[in-house]
Protein backbone atom coordinates (compact mmCIF):
# COMPACT_ATOMS: atom_id res chain seq x y z
CA UNK A 1 0.00 0.00 0.00
CA UNK A 2 1.36 3.42 -0.91
CA UNK A 3 2.42 5.51 2.09
CA UNK A 4 0.23 8.45 1.07
CA UNK A 5 -2.80 6.28 1.80
CA UNK A 6 -1.66 5.74 5.37
CA UNK A 7 -1.18 8.07 8.30
CA UNK A 8 2.23 9.82 8.14
CA UNK A 9 3.14 8.20 11.47
CA UNK A 10 3.88 5.04 9.46
CA UNK A 11 6.48 6.86 7.36
CA UNK A 12 7.83 8.55 10.47
CA UNK A 13 8.17 5.23 12.28
CA UNK A 14 9.89 3.67 9.30
CA UNK A 15 12.34 6.59 9.03
CA UNK A 16 13.00 6.43 12.76
CA UNK A 17 13.67 2.72 12.55
CA UNK A 18 16.05 3.22 9.61
CA UNK A 19 17.93 5.99 11.39
CA UNK A 20 18.18 3.90 14.54
CA UNK A 21 19.51 0.98 12.53
CA UNK A 22 22.12 3.21 10.91
CA UNK A 23 23.12 4.66 14.27
CA UNK A 24 23.36 1.16 15.71
CA UNK A 25 25.56 0.00 12.84
CA UNK A 26 27.78 3.02 13.42
CA UNK A 27 28.46 1.73 16.94
CA UNK A 28 29.83 -1.74 16.23
CA UNK A 29 30.89 -2.51 19.80
CA UNK A 30 27.47 -1.74 21.25
CA UNK A 31 25.75 -3.53 18.38
CA UNK A 32 27.89 -6.59 18.99
CA UNK A 33 26.97 -6.51 22.68
CA UNK A 34 23.26 -6.25 21.88
CA UNK A 35 23.56 -9.05 19.30
CA UNK A 36 25.39 -11.25 21.79
CA UNK A 37 22.77 -10.46 24.43
CA UNK A 38 19.98 -11.48 22.05
CA UNK A 39 21.90 -14.60 21.10
CA UNK A 40 22.29 -15.44 24.80
CA UNK A 41 18.58 -14.86 25.38
CA UNK A 42 17.75 -17.06 22.35
CA UNK A 43 20.13 -19.75 23.58
CA UNK A 44 18.48 -19.64 26.99
CA UNK A 45 15.05 -19.91 25.39
CA UNK A 46 16.17 -22.95 23.36
CA UNK A 47 17.78 -24.44 26.44
CA UNK A 48 14.57 -24.00 28.43
CA UNK A 49 12.51 -25.35 25.53
CA UNK A 50 14.54 -28.56 25.22
CA UNK A 51 14.02 -29.23 28.91
CA UNK A 52 10.30 -28.55 29.01
CA UNK A 53 8.18 -31.45 30.28
CA UNK A 54 6.43 -32.35 27.02
CA UNK A 55 3.85 -34.83 28.28
CA UNK A 56 2.19 -32.60 30.94
CA UNK A 57 2.08 -29.71 28.48
CA UNK A 58 0.54 -31.93 25.82
CA UNK A 59 -1.95 -33.22 28.37
CA UNK A 60 -2.93 -29.65 29.31
CA UNK A 61 -3.42 -28.68 25.66
CA UNK A 62 -5.38 -31.85 24.99
CA UNK A 63 -7.57 -31.12 27.99
CA UNK A 64 -8.18 -27.57 26.69
CA UNK A 65 -8.94 -28.93 23.22
CA UNK A 66 -11.62 -31.20 24.71
CA UNK A 67 -13.48 -28.06 25.86
CA UNK A 68 -13.48 -26.13 22.58
CA UNK A 69 -16.03 -23.52 23.65
CA UNK A 70 -14.27 -22.58 26.89
CA UNK A 71 -10.83 -22.49 25.25
CA UNK A 72 -12.18 -20.71 22.21
CA UNK A 73 -13.80 -17.98 24.30
CA UNK A 74 -10.60 -17.53 26.36
CA UNK A 75 -8.51 -17.26 23.20
CA UNK A 76 -11.04 -14.91 21.64
CA UNK A 77 -10.72 -12.65 24.70
CA UNK A 78 -6.95 -12.83 24.34
CA UNK A 79 -7.15 -11.92 20.65
CA UNK A 80 -9.66 -9.15 21.35
CA UNK A 81 -7.41 -7.37 23.86
CA UNK A 82 -4.18 -8.04 22.00
CA UNK A 83 -5.52 -6.26 18.93
CA UNK A 84 -7.73 -3.64 20.57
CA UNK A 85 -5.38 -2.25 23.24
CA UNK A 86 -2.48 -1.14 21.01
CA UNK A 87 -4.89 0.23 18.42
CA UNK A 88 -6.66 2.33 21.05
CA UNK A 89 -3.31 3.56 22.35
CA UNK A 90 -2.22 4.53 18.86
CA UNK A 91 -5.50 6.28 18.21
CA UNK A 92 -5.21 8.19 21.49
CA UNK A 93 -1.66 9.17 20.57
CA UNK A 94 -2.74 10.45 17.17
CA UNK A 95 -5.49 12.51 18.75
CA UNK A 96 -3.39 13.93 21.58
CA UNK A 97 0.11 14.45 20.25
CA UNK A 98 1.37 16.96 17.71
CA UNK A 99 -0.25 14.87 14.97
CA UNK A 100 -3.62 16.15 16.17
CA UNK A 101 -2.92 19.62 14.82
CA UNK A 102 -2.03 18.49 11.31
CA UNK A 103 -4.46 18.37 8.40
CA UNK A 104 -4.57 14.58 7.98
CA UNK A 105 -7.65 12.91 6.50
CA UNK A 106 -9.38 10.58 8.95
CA UNK A 107 -9.49 7.91 6.22
CA UNK A 108 -5.69 7.65 6.40
CA UNK A 109 -5.93 7.06 10.14
CA UNK A 110 -8.62 4.41 9.65
CA UNK A 111 -6.61 2.60 6.96
CA UNK A 112 -3.54 2.64 9.22
CA UNK A 113 -5.51 1.20 12.13
CA UNK A 114 -6.95 -1.55 9.91
CA UNK A 115 -3.51 -2.43 8.54
CA UNK A 116 -1.97 -2.53 12.00
CA UNK A 117 -4.89 -4.55 13.36
CA UNK A 118 -4.64 -7.12 10.57
CA UNK A 119 -0.88 -7.41 11.07
CA UNK A 120 -1.31 -7.86 14.81
CA UNK A 121 -3.99 -10.47 14.25
CA UNK A 122 -1.81 -12.36 11.77
CA UNK A 123 1.12 -12.16 14.19
CA UNK A 124 -0.77 -13.65 17.15
CA UNK A 125 -2.37 -16.40 15.04
CA UNK A 126 1.04 -17.30 13.62
CA UNK A 127 2.67 -17.14 17.07
CA UNK A 128 -0.02 -19.37 18.58
CA UNK A 129 0.38 -21.87 15.75
CA UNK A 130 4.15 -21.94 16.20
CA UNK A 131 3.77 -22.45 19.95
CA UNK A 132 1.42 -25.39 19.35
CA UNK A 133 3.77 -26.93 16.78
CA UNK A 134 6.69 -26.46 19.19
CA UNK A 135 4.69 -28.20 21.93
CA UNK A 136 3.79 -30.99 19.50
CA UNK A 137 7.46 -31.51 18.71
CA UNK A 138 8.07 -32.30 22.39
CA UNK A 139 5.87 -35.41 22.42
CA UNK A 140 5.64 -38.60 20.38
CA UNK A 141 2.03 -38.68 19.37
CA UNK A 142 0.49 -35.21 19.13
CA UNK A 143 -1.99 -36.12 16.38
CA UNK A 144 -4.84 -36.74 18.81
CA UNK A 145 -4.97 -33.08 19.87
CA UNK A 146 -2.85 -30.97 17.49
CA UNK A 147 -5.37 -30.43 14.67
CA UNK A 148 -8.19 -29.58 17.08
CA UNK A 149 -5.99 -27.21 19.10
CA UNK A 150 -4.77 -25.40 15.98
CA UNK A 151 -8.34 -25.00 14.73
CA UNK A 152 -9.57 -23.67 18.08
CA UNK A 153 -6.61 -21.26 18.29
CA UNK A 154 -7.17 -20.05 14.74
CA UNK A 155 -10.92 -19.53 15.15
CA UNK A 156 -10.74 -18.12 18.69
CA UNK A 157 -7.95 -15.67 18.03
CA UNK A 158 -9.31 -14.62 14.63
CA UNK A 159 -12.82 -13.95 15.89
CA UNK A 160 -11.60 -12.12 19.01
CA UNK A 161 -8.98 -10.16 17.09
CA UNK A 162 -11.51 -9.12 14.44
CA UNK A 163 -13.92 -7.94 17.12
CA UNK A 164 -11.05 -6.07 18.78
CA UNK A 165 -10.21 -4.35 15.51
CA UNK A 166 -13.84 -3.39 14.90
CA UNK A 167 -14.17 -2.21 18.50
CA UNK A 168 -11.10 -0.02 18.20
CA UNK A 169 -12.40 1.52 14.99
CA UNK A 170 -15.83 2.19 16.46
CA UNK A 171 -14.82 3.63 19.79
CA UNK A 172 -14.65 7.42 19.75
CA UNK A 173 -11.29 9.06 20.26
CA UNK A 174 -12.59 11.13 23.13
CA UNK A 175 -13.78 8.19 25.17
CA UNK A 176 -10.88 5.85 24.54
CA UNK A 177 -8.11 8.35 25.01
CA UNK A 178 -7.38 7.80 28.66
CA UNK A 179 -7.32 4.65 30.72
CA UNK A 180 -6.25 6.65 33.75
CA UNK A 181 -8.85 7.99 36.08
CA UNK A 182 -8.52 10.31 39.00
CA UNK A 183 -7.73 8.30 42.10
CA UNK A 184 -6.51 5.45 39.95
CA UNK A 185 -3.13 5.40 41.66
CA UNK A 186 -4.18 6.33 45.19
CA UNK A 187 -3.01 3.67 47.67
CA UNK A 188 -5.67 2.09 49.88
CA UNK A 189 -3.53 2.33 53.00
CA UNK A 190 -0.35 4.01 54.20
CA UNK A 191 2.95 2.20 54.50
CA UNK A 192 4.86 3.90 57.33
CA UNK A 193 8.08 1.92 56.74
CA UNK A 194 8.30 3.57 53.32
CA UNK A 195 7.59 7.03 54.70
CA UNK A 196 10.53 6.91 57.09
CA UNK A 197 13.04 6.74 54.23
CA UNK A 198 15.33 9.68 53.64
CA UNK A 199 13.45 10.42 50.42
CA UNK A 200 9.93 9.06 50.95
CA UNK A 201 8.66 10.49 47.67
CA UNK A 202 10.71 8.02 45.61
CA UNK A 203 9.17 4.97 47.26
CA UNK A 204 5.73 6.57 47.04
CA UNK A 205 6.30 7.20 43.32
CA UNK A 206 7.28 3.57 42.72
CA UNK A 207 4.23 2.41 44.62
CA UNK A 208 1.84 4.62 42.65
CA UNK A 209 3.33 3.45 39.34
CA UNK A 210 2.86 -0.17 40.42
CA UNK A 211 -0.71 0.41 41.60
CA UNK A 212 -1.65 2.12 38.36
CA UNK A 213 -0.37 -0.74 36.27
CA UNK A 214 -1.95 -3.39 38.46
CA UNK A 215 -5.34 -1.66 38.63
CA UNK A 216 -5.29 -1.05 34.88
CA UNK A 217 -5.26 -4.83 34.43
CA UNK A 218 -1.50 -5.28 34.48
CA UNK A 219 -0.16 -7.81 32.08
CA UNK A 220 -3.58 -9.21 31.25
CA UNK A 221 -2.12 -11.93 29.01
CA UNK A 222 -0.52 -13.33 32.15
CA UNK A 223 -3.97 -13.53 33.73
CA UNK A 224 -5.10 -15.50 30.70
CA UNK A 225 -2.13 -17.86 31.00
CA UNK A 226 -2.95 -18.26 34.68
CA UNK A 227 -6.54 -19.14 33.78
CA UNK A 228 -5.43 -21.66 31.16
CA UNK A 229 -2.89 -23.18 33.58
CA UNK A 230 -5.58 -24.30 36.02
CA UNK A 231 -6.05 -28.02 35.45
CA UNK A 232 -9.42 -29.74 35.72
CA UNK A 233 -10.28 -31.65 38.90
CA UNK A 234 -7.81 -29.76 41.07
CA UNK A 235 -8.43 -29.71 44.83
CA UNK A 236 -9.61 -26.48 46.42
CA UNK A 237 -6.42 -25.78 48.46
CA UNK A 238 -4.25 -26.46 45.39
CA UNK A 239 -6.45 -24.21 43.30
CA UNK A 240 -6.16 -21.45 45.91
CA UNK A 241 -2.39 -21.96 46.01
CA UNK A 242 -2.09 -21.84 42.22
CA UNK A 243 -4.20 -18.70 41.90
CA UNK A 244 -2.35 -17.04 44.77
CA UNK A 245 1.03 -17.84 43.24
CA UNK A 246 -0.13 -16.52 39.88
CA UNK A 247 -1.33 -13.24 41.40
CA UNK A 248 1.90 -12.88 43.40
CA UNK A 249 4.06 -13.44 40.32
CA UNK A 250 2.08 -11.01 38.15
CA UNK A 251 2.10 -8.35 40.87
CA UNK A 252 5.80 -8.90 41.63
CA UNK A 253 6.77 -8.64 37.95
CA UNK A 254 4.74 -5.44 37.55
CA UNK A 255 6.21 -3.93 40.71
CA UNK A 256 9.77 -4.70 39.62
CA UNK A 257 9.24 -3.19 36.17
CA UNK A 258 7.52 -0.12 37.63
CA UNK A 259 10.27 0.31 40.23
CA UNK A 260 13.01 0.00 37.61
CA UNK A 261 11.36 2.50 35.27
CA UNK A 262 10.70 4.91 38.13
CA UNK A 263 14.38 4.74 39.12
CA UNK A 264 15.32 5.83 35.59
CA UNK A 265 12.72 8.62 35.58
CA UNK A 266 13.78 9.84 39.02
CA UNK A 267 17.45 9.78 38.00
CA UNK A 268 16.70 11.99 35.01
CA UNK A 269 14.53 14.30 37.11
CA UNK A 270 17.18 14.78 39.79
CA UNK A 271 20.27 14.67 37.56
CA UNK A 272 21.21 18.28 38.35
CA UNK A 273 20.49 18.09 42.08
CA UNK A 274 22.88 17.31 44.95
CA UNK A 275 21.42 13.83 45.46
CA UNK A 276 24.06 11.36 46.64
CA UNK A 277 23.91 7.97 44.97
CA UNK A 278 23.92 6.16 48.31
CA UNK A 279 20.81 8.08 49.44
CA UNK A 280 19.16 7.52 46.06
CA UNK A 281 19.91 3.80 46.23
CA UNK A 282 18.56 3.41 49.76
CA UNK A 283 15.41 5.40 48.98
CA UNK A 284 14.70 3.60 45.71
CA UNK A 285 15.37 0.13 47.17
CA UNK A 286 12.81 0.30 49.97
CA UNK A 287 9.68 -0.32 47.94
CA UNK A 288 11.03 -3.16 45.75
CA UNK A 289 12.49 -4.89 48.81
CA UNK A 290 9.18 -4.55 50.63
CA UNK A 291 7.44 -6.02 47.57
CA UNK A 292 9.91 -8.92 47.55
CA UNK A 293 9.29 -9.55 51.26
CA UNK A 294 5.51 -9.54 50.78
CA UNK A 295 5.82 -11.74 47.67
CA UNK A 296 7.97 -14.15 49.68
CA UNK A 297 5.31 -14.44 52.38
CA UNK A 298 2.33 -14.87 50.06
CA UNK A 299 4.30 -17.09 47.70
CA UNK A 300 5.35 -19.33 50.58
CA UNK A 301 1.71 -19.63 51.62
CA UNK A 302 0.82 -20.54 48.03
CA UNK A 303 3.50 -23.23 47.98
CA UNK A 304 2.25 -24.62 51.30
CA UNK A 305 -1.30 -24.78 49.93
CA UNK A 306 0.02 -26.72 46.95
CA UNK A 307 2.00 -29.02 49.25
CA UNK A 308 5.20 -28.14 47.39
CA UNK A 309 8.43 -29.96 48.32
CA UNK A 310 10.56 -28.43 51.07
CA UNK A 311 13.25 -27.46 48.55
CA UNK A 312 10.77 -25.08 46.90
CA UNK A 313 9.97 -23.47 50.25
CA UNK A 314 13.67 -22.80 50.85
CA UNK A 315 14.39 -21.74 47.29
CA UNK A 316 11.47 -19.32 46.96
CA UNK A 317 12.75 -16.61 49.39
CA UNK A 318 16.24 -16.94 47.91
CA UNK A 319 14.83 -16.47 44.42
CA UNK A 320 12.83 -13.40 45.47
CA UNK A 321 15.79 -11.83 47.27
CA UNK A 322 18.24 -12.61 44.48
CA UNK A 323 15.90 -11.27 41.84
CA UNK A 324 15.11 -7.98 43.59
CA UNK A 325 18.77 -7.25 44.34
CA UNK A 326 19.81 -7.92 40.75
CA UNK A 327 16.88 -5.91 39.42
CA UNK A 328 17.86 -2.95 41.59
CA UNK A 329 21.58 -3.16 40.74
CA UNK A 330 20.83 -3.19 37.00
CA UNK A 331 18.30 -0.35 37.38
CA UNK A 332 20.85 1.82 39.21
CA UNK A 333 23.59 0.99 36.72
CA UNK A 334 21.61 1.90 33.61
CA UNK A 335 19.50 4.65 35.21
CA UNK A 336 20.69 7.27 32.71
CA UNK A 337 20.22 4.97 29.69
CA UNK A 338 17.47 2.55 30.67
CA UNK A 339 16.64 1.41 27.13
CA UNK A 340 18.47 -1.90 27.47
CA UNK A 341 17.71 -2.47 31.18
CA UNK A 342 15.35 -5.37 30.55
CA UNK A 343 17.78 -7.03 28.15
CA UNK A 344 20.69 -6.62 30.56
CA UNK A 345 18.66 -8.20 33.30
CA UNK A 346 17.70 -11.07 31.00
CA UNK A 347 21.35 -11.63 30.06
CA UNK A 348 22.41 -11.63 33.72
CA UNK A 349 19.66 -14.08 34.63
CA UNK A 350 20.63 -16.27 31.65
CA UNK A 351 24.26 -16.24 32.76
CA UNK A 352 23.32 -17.18 36.33
CA UNK A 353 20.95 -19.92 35.12
CA UNK A 354 23.69 -21.24 32.84
CA UNK A 355 26.17 -21.23 35.72
CA UNK A 356 23.67 -23.02 37.95
CA UNK A 357 23.18 -25.67 35.28
CA UNK A 358 26.91 -26.19 34.82
CA UNK A 359 27.95 -26.09 38.48
CA UNK A 360 25.36 -25.03 41.04
CA UNK A 361 27.71 -23.36 43.60
CA UNK A 362 28.91 -21.06 40.82
CA UNK A 363 25.49 -19.38 40.55
CA UNK A 364 25.55 -17.42 43.85
CA UNK A 365 29.17 -16.42 43.22
CA UNK A 366 28.28 -15.08 39.77
CA UNK A 367 25.20 -13.38 41.20
CA UNK A 368 27.30 -11.60 43.86
CA UNK A 369 29.94 -10.63 41.28
CA UNK A 370 27.32 -9.17 38.93
CA UNK A 371 25.73 -7.32 41.83
CA UNK A 372 29.05 -5.82 42.88
CA UNK A 373 29.92 -4.85 39.31
CA UNK A 374 26.59 -3.16 38.64
CA UNK A 375 26.75 -1.31 41.96
CA UNK A 376 30.31 -0.18 41.32
CA UNK A 377 29.39 1.10 37.86
CA UNK A 378 26.26 2.79 39.23
CA UNK A 379 28.31 4.70 41.82
CA UNK A 380 30.59 6.05 39.10
CA UNK A 381 27.76 7.86 37.32
CA UNK A 382 28.01 11.58 38.21
Amino acid sequence: MATHLLHPIVAQTWLGFRNQLRAQLARPAESLFVALAWAAAAALAIFVYTRLPGEPIAAAIESAARSPWTSGVALAAFGFYTVRTPLLRLRAHLHRSWWAGLPIASARETRTLILLGVLLLAAIVLAADLVLLACAALVRNPDRWLAAARTIALLGLSSGGTLGLLGALRRGAATQASTRRRGHGVPLFRLPPLEHASLPTLAHWQRIETLRRFRAGGRWWQWLLLGLAIPAGISLPSLAGLVLMGVVLIWYGLAMTAARETIAKAARLTAATPLRFAAFAVASARYPILVAAVATLWGSLALLLQEAPRLFLIGWPLLMFGWVMLELAVAWHVRRQPRHAGLRLAVDIAAIAGAAQAFAPLAPILWAALLAWHYHRARKIP
Binding site: T201, W205, L269, T270, P274
Partner: protein, 245 residues
Protein backbone atom coordinates in the same frame (compact mmCIF):
# COMPACT_ATOMS: atom_id res chain seq x y z
CA UNK B 1 35.94 36.42 46.18
CA UNK B 2 34.54 33.12 44.95
CA UNK B 3 32.73 33.15 41.62
CA UNK B 4 29.20 31.83 41.52
CA UNK B 5 30.27 30.15 38.27
CA UNK B 6 33.71 29.78 36.80
CA UNK B 7 34.20 27.90 33.54
CA UNK B 8 37.68 27.45 32.12
CA UNK B 9 38.57 26.08 28.71
CA UNK B 10 35.52 23.85 28.49
CA UNK B 11 35.53 21.50 25.55
CA UNK B 12 33.27 18.70 24.42
CA UNK B 13 32.55 16.80 21.22
CA UNK B 14 29.87 14.36 20.12
CA UNK B 15 31.84 11.84 18.14
CA UNK B 16 33.91 13.82 15.66
CA UNK B 17 31.76 16.94 15.98
CA UNK B 18 33.10 19.48 18.48
CA UNK B 19 30.29 21.30 20.27
CA UNK B 20 32.18 23.30 22.89
CA UNK B 21 35.64 24.65 21.98
CA UNK B 22 37.39 26.17 24.96
CA UNK B 23 34.55 28.09 26.59
CA UNK B 24 35.55 30.48 29.41
CA UNK B 25 32.88 32.14 31.52
CA UNK B 26 32.56 33.78 34.91
CA UNK B 27 29.54 34.83 36.94
CA UNK B 28 29.91 36.82 40.13
CA UNK B 29 27.28 36.71 42.88
CA UNK B 30 24.42 38.99 41.88
CA UNK B 31 25.08 38.68 38.13
CA UNK B 32 22.11 38.09 35.85
CA UNK B 33 23.50 36.83 32.58
CA UNK B 34 21.72 35.92 29.37
CA UNK B 35 23.33 33.18 27.34
CA UNK B 36 22.37 33.78 23.74
CA UNK B 37 23.27 32.23 20.45
CA UNK B 38 21.79 30.63 17.34
CA UNK B 39 20.51 27.07 17.29
CA UNK B 40 23.32 24.54 17.51
CA UNK B 41 25.75 27.00 19.08
CA UNK B 42 26.34 24.72 22.08
CA UNK B 43 24.06 26.35 24.68
CA UNK B 44 22.28 23.17 25.71
CA UNK B 45 25.53 21.19 25.92
CA UNK B 46 27.06 23.95 28.03
CA UNK B 47 24.07 23.91 30.40
CA UNK B 48 24.17 20.11 30.63
CA UNK B 49 27.87 20.25 31.44
CA UNK B 50 27.64 22.92 34.08
CA UNK B 51 24.73 21.17 35.75
CA UNK B 52 26.71 17.94 35.97
CA UNK B 53 24.42 15.94 33.67
CA UNK B 54 27.17 15.63 31.06
CA UNK B 55 30.83 15.07 31.87
CA UNK B 56 32.82 17.37 29.58
CA UNK B 57 35.93 15.99 27.91
CA UNK B 58 38.03 19.03 28.71
CA UNK B 59 38.09 22.00 31.05
CA UNK B 60 36.98 22.96 34.50
CA UNK B 61 33.66 24.02 36.04
CA UNK B 62 33.50 25.53 39.52
CA UNK B 63 30.12 26.29 41.09
CA UNK B 64 30.53 28.71 43.99
CA UNK B 65 34.16 27.51 44.24
CA UNK B 66 33.34 23.78 44.16
CA UNK B 67 34.70 21.67 41.31
CA UNK B 68 31.93 19.84 39.42
CA UNK B 69 34.30 17.02 38.47
CA UNK B 70 35.88 16.57 41.90
CA UNK B 71 32.79 17.02 44.06
CA UNK B 72 29.67 16.81 41.87
CA UNK B 73 27.29 16.53 44.81
CA UNK B 74 28.81 19.57 46.52
CA UNK B 75 28.74 21.57 43.28
CA UNK B 76 25.14 20.59 42.53
CA UNK B 77 24.23 21.64 46.07
CA UNK B 78 25.13 25.20 45.05
CA UNK B 79 23.20 25.01 41.79
CA UNK B 80 19.52 25.20 41.02
CA UNK B 81 18.43 24.20 37.56
CA UNK B 82 14.89 24.55 36.27
CA UNK B 83 13.50 21.18 35.27
CA UNK B 84 12.44 20.43 31.72
CA UNK B 85 8.62 20.08 31.83
CA UNK B 86 8.86 16.77 29.95
CA UNK B 87 10.84 15.21 32.80
CA UNK B 88 8.24 15.97 35.47
CA UNK B 89 6.59 12.84 36.90
CA UNK B 90 2.93 12.63 35.96
CA UNK B 91 2.16 10.30 38.85
CA UNK B 92 3.18 12.78 41.56
CA UNK B 93 1.58 16.01 42.70
CA UNK B 94 3.35 19.35 42.52
CA UNK B 95 3.75 19.37 46.29
CA UNK B 96 5.33 15.89 46.25
CA UNK B 97 7.82 17.07 43.60
CA UNK B 98 8.69 20.14 45.66
CA UNK B 99 9.06 17.99 48.79
CA UNK B 100 11.38 15.62 46.91
CA UNK B 101 13.63 18.50 45.85
CA UNK B 102 13.51 20.07 49.32
CA UNK B 103 14.52 16.70 50.84
CA UNK B 104 17.41 16.38 48.39
CA UNK B 105 18.62 19.83 49.42
CA UNK B 106 18.38 18.82 53.07
CA UNK B 107 15.54 21.20 53.84
CA UNK B 108 12.89 20.16 56.38
CA UNK B 109 10.05 20.91 53.98
CA UNK B 110 9.02 23.04 51.04
CA UNK B 111 10.49 26.50 51.81
CA UNK B 112 8.13 29.42 52.41
CA UNK B 113 9.83 31.24 49.53
CA UNK B 114 8.79 28.53 47.12
CA UNK B 115 5.21 28.57 48.39
CA UNK B 116 5.11 32.36 48.16
CA UNK B 117 6.35 32.23 44.56
CA UNK B 118 3.85 29.45 43.83
CA UNK B 119 1.11 31.72 45.14
CA UNK B 120 2.33 34.63 42.99
CA UNK B 121 2.31 32.34 39.97
CA UNK B 122 -1.28 31.25 40.72
CA UNK B 123 0.07 27.74 41.13
CA UNK B 124 -1.52 26.99 44.52
CA UNK B 125 -4.72 25.41 43.10
CA UNK B 126 -2.46 22.96 41.25
CA UNK B 127 -0.14 22.15 44.12
CA UNK B 128 -1.98 19.01 45.25
CA UNK B 129 -3.04 17.82 41.81
CA UNK B 130 -1.22 15.27 39.70
CA UNK B 131 1.37 16.68 37.31
CA UNK B 132 -0.23 14.72 34.45
CA UNK B 133 -3.25 17.04 34.76
CA UNK B 134 -1.11 20.16 34.20
CA UNK B 135 -0.99 22.26 31.06
CA UNK B 136 2.39 23.11 29.51
CA UNK B 137 2.48 26.48 31.28
CA UNK B 138 1.66 24.92 34.66
CA UNK B 139 4.40 22.32 34.16
CA UNK B 140 6.79 25.09 33.25
CA UNK B 141 5.93 26.90 36.49
CA UNK B 142 6.60 23.75 38.51
CA UNK B 143 9.90 23.17 36.69
CA UNK B 144 11.03 26.68 37.61
CA UNK B 145 9.82 26.33 41.21
CA UNK B 146 11.85 23.12 41.54
CA UNK B 147 14.97 24.85 40.25
CA UNK B 148 14.57 27.67 42.75
CA UNK B 149 14.01 25.51 45.85
CA UNK B 150 16.42 26.69 48.53
CA UNK B 151 17.60 29.74 46.49
CA UNK B 152 21.04 28.26 45.65
CA UNK B 153 23.98 30.58 44.76
CA UNK B 154 23.71 29.77 41.04
CA UNK B 155 20.41 29.45 39.19
CA UNK B 156 20.31 28.12 35.64
CA UNK B 157 17.24 28.41 33.44
CA UNK B 158 16.78 27.26 29.86
CA UNK B 159 14.04 29.20 28.03
CA UNK B 160 11.99 29.55 31.22
CA UNK B 161 9.29 31.78 29.75
CA UNK B 162 8.08 29.21 27.21
CA UNK B 163 4.37 28.65 27.67
CA UNK B 164 4.01 31.10 30.55
CA UNK B 165 1.22 33.68 30.62
CA UNK B 166 2.40 37.33 30.76
CA UNK B 167 1.57 37.76 34.46
CA UNK B 168 3.54 34.65 35.46
CA UNK B 169 6.46 35.52 33.18
CA UNK B 170 6.61 38.98 34.77
CA UNK B 171 6.48 37.48 38.28
CA UNK B 172 9.31 35.05 37.50
CA UNK B 173 11.51 37.84 36.12
CA UNK B 174 10.83 40.02 39.16
CA UNK B 175 11.60 37.13 41.47
CA UNK B 176 14.90 36.42 39.71
CA UNK B 177 15.87 40.09 39.90
CA UNK B 178 15.09 40.07 43.63
CA UNK B 179 17.20 36.93 44.10
CA UNK B 180 20.18 38.53 42.36
CA UNK B 181 19.92 41.93 44.06
CA UNK B 182 18.87 40.97 47.58
CA UNK B 183 20.27 37.46 48.04
CA UNK B 184 23.32 37.68 45.80
CA UNK B 185 22.26 34.68 43.70
CA UNK B 186 23.70 34.57 40.18
CA UNK B 187 21.33 33.71 37.34
CA UNK B 188 22.28 32.24 33.99
CA UNK B 189 19.38 32.44 31.55
CA UNK B 190 19.64 30.68 28.20
CA UNK B 191 17.11 32.26 25.89
CA UNK B 192 16.22 33.27 22.38
CA UNK B 193 13.69 35.78 23.65
CA UNK B 194 16.14 38.68 23.79
CA UNK B 195 13.44 41.32 24.13
CA UNK B 196 12.35 39.55 27.33
CA UNK B 197 15.84 39.29 28.76
CA UNK B 198 17.11 42.72 27.76
CA UNK B 199 15.34 44.67 30.51
CA UNK B 200 16.53 42.50 33.38
CA UNK B 201 19.98 41.16 32.67
CA UNK B 202 23.25 42.70 33.76
CA UNK B 203 25.41 40.82 31.25
CA UNK B 204 24.99 38.92 28.01
CA UNK B 205 27.18 36.30 26.40
CA UNK B 206 26.95 35.24 22.77
CA UNK B 207 27.90 31.64 22.09
CA UNK B 208 28.73 30.74 18.52
CA UNK B 209 29.99 27.39 17.25
CA UNK B 210 30.98 26.37 20.74
CA UNK B 211 32.95 29.50 21.53
CA UNK B 212 32.20 32.65 23.50
CA UNK B 213 32.06 35.00 20.55
CA UNK B 214 30.93 38.29 22.11
CA UNK B 215 30.18 39.68 25.54
CA UNK B 216 28.13 42.68 26.67
CA UNK B 217 28.65 44.07 30.16
CA UNK B 218 26.24 46.18 32.18
CA UNK B 219 27.29 49.64 30.89
CA UNK B 220 26.96 48.39 27.31
CA UNK B 221 23.53 46.94 28.02
CA UNK B 222 22.43 50.18 29.70
CA UNK B 223 23.61 52.08 26.63
CA UNK B 224 21.59 49.78 24.37
CA UNK B 225 18.49 50.21 26.55
CA UNK B 226 18.74 54.00 26.49
CA UNK B 227 19.10 54.17 22.75
CA UNK B 228 15.64 53.84 21.16
CA UNK B 229 17.20 52.85 17.85
CA UNK B 230 19.08 49.87 19.30
CA UNK B 231 18.24 46.57 20.95
CA UNK B 232 20.16 43.54 22.17
CA UNK B 233 18.55 41.53 19.40
CA UNK B 234 19.94 43.96 16.84
CA UNK B 235 23.35 43.92 18.56
CA UNK B 236 23.41 40.14 18.43
CA UNK B 237 22.47 40.01 14.75
CA UNK B 238 25.16 42.58 13.96
CA UNK B 239 27.71 40.59 15.94
CA UNK B 240 26.76 37.41 14.08
CA UNK B 241 27.16 39.19 10.73
CA UNK B 242 30.54 40.57 11.76
CA UNK B 243 31.74 37.18 12.89
CA UNK B 244 30.49 35.52 9.74
CA UNK B 245 32.25 38.10 7.51
Amino acid sequence: MSHALLIENLGHAYGDTPVLRGVDMQLAPGDFMALIGPNGSGKTTLLRALSGILLPQQGKILIDGVDMRGDPVGAKGRLGMAIDPELLPGALTGRQCLTLFANIRGLPGVPDDSLALASTLAFMPWLDRLVEEYSLGTRQKLGILLGLVGSPPLIVLDEPMNGLDPVSAWAIKQHLVTLTRERGCAVLLATHALEVAERFITRAQLLLEGRCARHWDEPQLIAIRHDPTRSLEQAMVEALRELAA
